[in-house]
């Protein structure tokens, strides 16, 4: 017997939407416009274009709702439309990343500064400058959020797109690979690099004077 699919948090809203309830559409807009904006900004740098693409996305949502079959979540469906809208406007350069930046585990550039590990001696390869715990109080500040946005913005495009979809929006690996047309290995390498970069940015920020 199959387990019941997880309930869509927007299930109640969907019922109203199918009934053509306009206040429900406004509610949907308010609930997910932030996520749509973030996803589009992962692809598009200029605010004016991003805003245009967001509107295009919502128009497609409005028109496409009757065709939504409810197999996944409404949010997932909306974000898929956002990604496809942004990608249609911004086709990816085929050779966006130098081959050396990809690599398998063996030939990729280290994601942690090699100077933080012992070069020789008994503890060769182990941390010489290990990470230190992050004080919880400093993690929930406006300054940290601003730093995080900046760090994400500074990522190379594909890394940013993977990070925003996977870690920013909780899409799964399969969905992200399909949306971005990436192989699972490539997606994982991009996520690995992006996460390490963003973590390092947080670490630097917390290491600066409070």
């Amino acid at each position: 017997m199959d387990a019941a699919p997880p309930r869509d948090p927007d299930a109640a809203l969907l019922v109203q939407l199918r009934a053509g309830d306009r206040t429900a559409f406004t509610a949907l807009l308010r609930r997910h416009r932030g996520a749509v904006r973030r996803v589009i900004r992962a692809f598009v740098r200029r605010d004016a274009i991003a805003e245009e693409l967001a509107q295009e996305t919502w128009l497609a949502v409005a028109r496409g709702l009757p065709g939504f079959e409810g197999r996944g979540t409404l949010r997932g469906w909306i974000l898929r439309i956002a990604v496809n809208t942004a990608r249609a406007r911004n086709p990816r350069e085929v050779r966006e990343l130098p081959a050396s930046a990809l690599g398998d585990a063996g030939d990729a550039t280290p994601t942690v500064d090699p100077a933080r590990f012992h070069e020789d001696g008994r503890w060769v390869g182990h941390w010489s400058a290990p990470p230190t715990p992050w004080p919880d109080a400093r993690l929930h500040t406006a300054a940290l959020r601003a730093l995080l946005e900046q760090a994400i913005d500074a990522l190379p495009p594909l890394q940013r797109q993977v990070f925003v979809l996977r870690d920013g929006q909780d899409l799964d690996a399969g969905e992200t690979c399909a949306l971005l047309e990436l192989s699972p290995v490539h997606q994982r390498v991009l996520l690995h690099r992006a996460r390490a970069s963003v973590r390092a940015a947080i670490e630097r920020h917390l290491g600066d004077a409070p």
């Binding site: 406004t26 416009r33 128009l59 009757p66 585990a105 942690v112 993690l139 959020r145 690995h192 390490a196």
Partner: protein, 88 residues
């Protein structure tokens, strides 16, 4: 496919394997070697936790904004509502 990792990993190895581990992309033997390192290395455990924290913080960026953040541009809202519900 197994990476056939050596029986003892260095921290430098671990920080490059951490995403494979998190994505459940390590073969059982490799995962065992990875976990054996974590069991003996607080620094690598902390590094791994901080990567997970990074994800949690990124996810929370959305939640930090109030749902009714900036007001919707009335013209835009009108245009969208005109498109909904779609005429059948």
């Amino acid at each position: 496919m197994t990476l056939a990792l050596p029986p003892e990993l260095t921290c430098r190895d671990v920080v490059e394997l951490v995403t494979r581990y998190d994505e459940d992309a390590l073969a059982p033997a490799d995962r065992a070697v990875f976990e054996a390192h974590l069991a003996a290395c607080d620094a690598c455990v902390l590094y791994y936790q901080q990567l997970r924290q990074t994800r949690t913080l990124a996810r929370a960026l959305d939640d930090a904004r109030a749902p009714d953040d900036a007001p919707l541009d009335p013209a835009i809202e009108r245009a969208l509502l005109d498109a909904f519900p779609p005429r059948s």
